[in-house]
Symmetry: D2
Subunit: 281 residues, 4 copies
C-alpha cells in the first residue's frame, strides 16, 4: 500500500519555518512520554496506510504529536481548531521542515476557518482527531460522502464531547469517537495543574500585580477551580472559594479555603477568577 504523499498547505509565512522548528524541538524536550511513544511508532509503524485529518490547536505540542503519528506511518492533514491559537511559525515548520500538510493561519476569519477544515478533509481520512467537534460536524453535514471511509476518531474537549454525546443519543453519529476529554490524566494536566498555572501566567502578564497578600476569589471548585485555588494559595494569596455544590464547597473548606457566596466574596476580593464556564457568577 505504498503511496507518494503530496504535501498541500495554506500557511501564513513559509519564512517562519526555521524559527518554528526550534520551538517544536524545545517543546519536544519537555514531552518525554510522547518521545517514547514516537520511538515505538517508528519501529512498529502502526499507522502505515492510514490517512488522518486532525483539527487541533496548531501549537508546538500538537506539532510533536503530528511528528509522532508521522513516525508511525500516517499521512496527516492538520487544520486549526481555533485560529486565535495558531502559531504561524509552527505551522510553517510542519510544512517546510517536516513535510506535513497544514491548513492554518493565525486569526483567519470564519470563511477561512471552514475552508481549512474542508482542505484537511480532502485527505479522505480513515481517522479524525477533533477538538470541539467542528470537523466531525462538517463531515456529518456538508462532506457526508466521506463518512463511509471514516473508521473512528477522538475528541479532546468537554464541549465537543457534549455535542458528540447528543449526536450519539440521537443516533446521528456515524462512526465511533473516543472521548479523550474524560481521561484522568486530561483532568489532571489540562484542567487542574495546567489551568492552575496558566491562569496566573495570564494574570501576571495582564496585570503585573503581586499575588501575595491579595484576596483571590475563585468561583467554582471543580478540577480547574481546585488547580487555580491551589496555585493562588501557593503564590501567597488568601483564597476565597465560591461553589454551589455543597460537597465540593465542604471539600474546599476542609482544605483551608474560605468558602462563602459570591454576594459576600464580591465585597472583599482583590482578584476574581471564574472557572465555572459561565461569565456571570
Amino acid at each position: 500500500m505504498s503511496t507518494t504523499t503530496v504535501i498541500k498547505s495554506d500557511v501564513a509565512n513559509p519564512a517562519l519555518a526555521s524559527e518554528g522548528k526550534k520551538k517544536i524541538e524545545w517543546a519536544a524536550r519537555n514531552m518525554p512520554v510522547l518521545a517514547q511513544i514516537k520511538d515505538r511508532f517508528a519501529k512498529e509503524k502502526p499507522f502505515t496506510g492510514f490517512r488522518i485529518a486532525a483539527c487541533m490547536h496548531v501549537t508546538t505540542e500538537t506539532a510533536n504529536l503530528m511528528l509522532a503519528l508521522k513516525a508511525g506511518g500516517a499521512d496527516i492533514a492538520l487544520c486549526a481548531s481555533n485560529p486565535l491559537s495558531t502559531q504561524d511559525d509552527t505551522a510553517a515548520a510542519l510544512v517546510y521542515e517536516y513535510g506535513i500538510s497544514v491548513f492554518a493561519k493565525n486569526a483567519v476569519d470564519r470563511d477561512g476557518y471552514y475552508k481549512h477544515l474542508n482542505s484537511a478533509l480532502d485527505i479522505k481520512p480513515q481517522l479524525v482527531f477533533d477538538d470541539g467537534c467542528d470537523l466531525v460536524n462538517v463531515l456529518h453535514t456538508s462532506r457526508t460522502e466521506l463518512i463511509e471511509g471514516v473508521m473512528a476518531g477522538c475528541e479532546e474537549t468537554t464541549t465537543g464531547v457534549i455535542r458528540l454525546s447528543q449526536m450519539a443519543k440521537d443516533g446521528a453519529l456515524k462512526f465511533p469517537m473516543i472521548a479523550v476529554n474524560d481521561t484522568d490524566t486530561k483532568h489532571m494536566f489540562d484542567n487542574r495543574y495546567g489551568t492552575g498555572q496558566s491562569t496566573f501566567d495570564a494574570i501576571f502578564r495582564a496585570t503585573n500585580t503581586l499575588i501575595a497578600g491579595k484576596i483571590v476569589v475563585v468561583a467554582g471548585f471543580g478540577y480547574c477551580g481546585k488547580g487555580v485555588a491551589e496555585r493562588a494559595k501557593g503564590l501567597g494569596a488568601e483564597v476565597v472559594v465560591t461553589e454551589i455544590d455543597p460537597t465540593k464547597a465542604l471539600d474546599a473548606l476542609m482544605q483551608g479555603f474560605r468558602v462563602m457566596p459570591m454576594t459576600k466574596a464580591a465585597a472583599i476580593g482583590d482578584l476574581f477568577i471564574t472557572v465555572t464556564g459561565n461569565r456571570d457568577v
Copy 2:
C-alpha cells in the same frame, strides 16, 4: 586529677530506672548531632576535672545532654527547672543506670524545688547551666560563698536572659553567662518548629478535634507565632493572625494569612492560640 565521684540523688522511684533508660535510648536515636558531639567529647575529654550544676527540664533530651557531658569527663549534678516537666523514670535512670547525681521529683512543691537547687549547687560547680535563671539567682543570694568558684554558665530561655541582662546592667552578675536562647538554631527548633508542632500535639490530646476546616486565630507573629500559624495552615485550617507590630503583621499578610485585630478575630475564630507570652490579648 582522678576523682572518685559520689552519686547523690533525690528521685521519686528507683524502680523506674530501666523504663527510663529505654526512653533515653529512644531519644538518643533522634539526636544525631549530639551523638557526634558526645563521640568527640569522649575522645577529647574537655570537661575532665570540671563540676557542672545544671538546672533544666529533666527529660530524655536533657538526659542525653548530661550523658554527653559525662562522656567529656564532667562531674554533674542535675536538678529540675520545672517540677511539672520532670520525668521520674528519666530521673531514676540517670541515677541508677548512668551514675549521675539528680535531684528532681515530678510535681514537687516550692520547698522541695529550692531544696533540689541547693543540693545541685552542693557539687560546688565551676560551670552552671540554667533555664529560667533560678539557679543563678540562688547563687547570687543564699549561696554567695560558691560564686568565687564559678567560672561561667549558660542560660536557655527568654525569661532567664531578660533577668540576666538586668543583673548585668546593674553590675550584679558575678560571672559571664552565655545566652543560648539567642542563637538562631534555638529560635528555629525551640520556638518556630518545636512550638509549632507541640502546640497542636497538645490541642489534639486536649480536644480531640479536627483542625481542618476550622478557623484558628494565632495571637502574635514572632518565631513561635509563625511556627504555630504555619502548622495550623498545614493541618488544613483557615488561619487568622493578630499582631500589633505593623511589619510583622504585613509579613503575615504577605504569607497569605488573614490579619485583623483580636476584637474582630474573637467573633469568628474556632480556636485561639496566644503566643505573645501574655494571657490577655
Copy 3:
C-alpha cells in the same frame, strides 16, 4: 404503638457515667450538623416505634448519634464494633445518664464481643447499623429468626461493604443495606482529613518526634494516603510517596511529592506510614 422501654446493659463501670456525660457534651459542641438533625428528629419523630440495633465504635461521637436517634423516637441497643475503642465512661453515660441500652466493655474478649452483639440483637431490630458487617453476619447465621423483622440497615466501612457486596452477589443478603462508606463526605472526613490528622496525632504520642525536616514515606496515594501526605507536608516533612497505580503516582508527583518504589524509599525514609491496608509493602 406506645412502648415502655426497658434499659438493659453490660458496661464496665457505672461510676464513670458523669465523666462520660461531660465528654459527650464536649463532642456535641463540635457536631453542629448532627445537632440540627437531632432538632429536626425531635420535632418530626421519624423513628417512633422503631427498634435499632447498632454495632459501632462506642465513642462520644457515636453517643451523640444515638442521642439524635433517640430524640427521633427510636428504641436503641448499642454494642461495640471494636472492643479496643470502647470508652467505658461513654458507655456508662449512655446507660445511666441517657437511658440507652449499651453492651460494651473496653478490651472484652472474643466471647464477650459476640455475647454483646447477641444482646443488642435481642431488641428484635427493624433497622441495623453495622461497622464491619459482624452484626449482619450474626443475623444471617445464628440469629436467622430475626431476619424477617429487619427492614434495612447501613454499613460504615470498606471491609463491611466488601463482605456485603459479596453476600448480595451470592443472593445471600436478606435485606437492603446502605453503603455509608461510599459517600463523598465519608471519604473526605474519615479517610482524607480524619486519617491525615489522626495518623500524626498517634505518631506524636508514640514517638515524641519532630516531623519538620524528616523524610516521611507514605505508601499508597488513595484518599487516606493523600490525607497523610498533605499533613506530613504541612508539618514540614519532605514527603515521599510510593504507589503502584500509575495515574495516582503521577498525581502525587504533580502535587510536588517525590515518587519512587518502596525499594528506594526504604533506604532514605525516617518515618514510614502505610495506608494501603496491607502490612507488607
Copy 4:
C-alpha cells in the same frame, strides 16, 4: 521661594505619553500606601523649594513615586538607573502628561547613560535618590562642584549600599545617605515576595513550561532564595535547596525542602535558579 520650573527631557518617543499615562494610573491603583503619602504630601508640601535628582528604574511604579514627590512640592529630574528597564511610554508620560523632567531611553548605550545622569544632576539637587550608587559616584568624581549643595540622599539596592559603606569607611562620602535597602519591608516585598513571583513570571514567559512535578533547584536560601523556594513549592514543584551557610541550610531542611550540595543537585534538577548573586554556583 517661588520658582518657574523648566521641564527638560530626553525621551524616546513623545507619542507614547498617553499610553504611558494609562499604565501609570493602573499601577497607582495597586499602590494604596503611596496614595496616602501623596495625599499627605499634597497638603503638607514638605518638598517645596527642594530639587531632587533621582536615578531609578524608569517604570510605572517609580513614576508614581515621582508624582507623590511633585505633589509634595519638589522639583524633580529623573534619569534611568538601568537603561534596559526603562519603559519609553512611562518616560514620555512623565514629561508630556505630568510635567516632570526625565532623561531616559530604553537600551541607551554607555555614553547616553552617563549623559542622562549628568542631565539630571544639572538640576543642582539638594536631595539625591540613587539605585546602584552611580549618581552619587558621578557627583563625587566629575561633578564635585555640586556636592556642597547636596544635603542628603538615599540608596535603594545592596550593591549601592556596599559601595557607599566603603566610601563612608574611607571618609570619602561627602553627605549622608539612607540605606533604603536595609529596611524590613524592602526585604519582604522586593526580595522575598517580589523576587519569588517575578522569577516564575520570567520562567513562564521564557520556557512555557509547567512547574508542577518538576524538580526545581534553588541555589541560596537568603530572602530571595526563600521567596523563590516557597513559590516553587506553591506551584507544585519538588524543591531542592543548595546553601553554604549551615544555619540557613538547616532552616531550609526544617521547612521541608531537600537540601544538598550543588554537585548532587545538578544531577537531578529540571530547573536551576541561582539567587546568590553569582553566576557560577
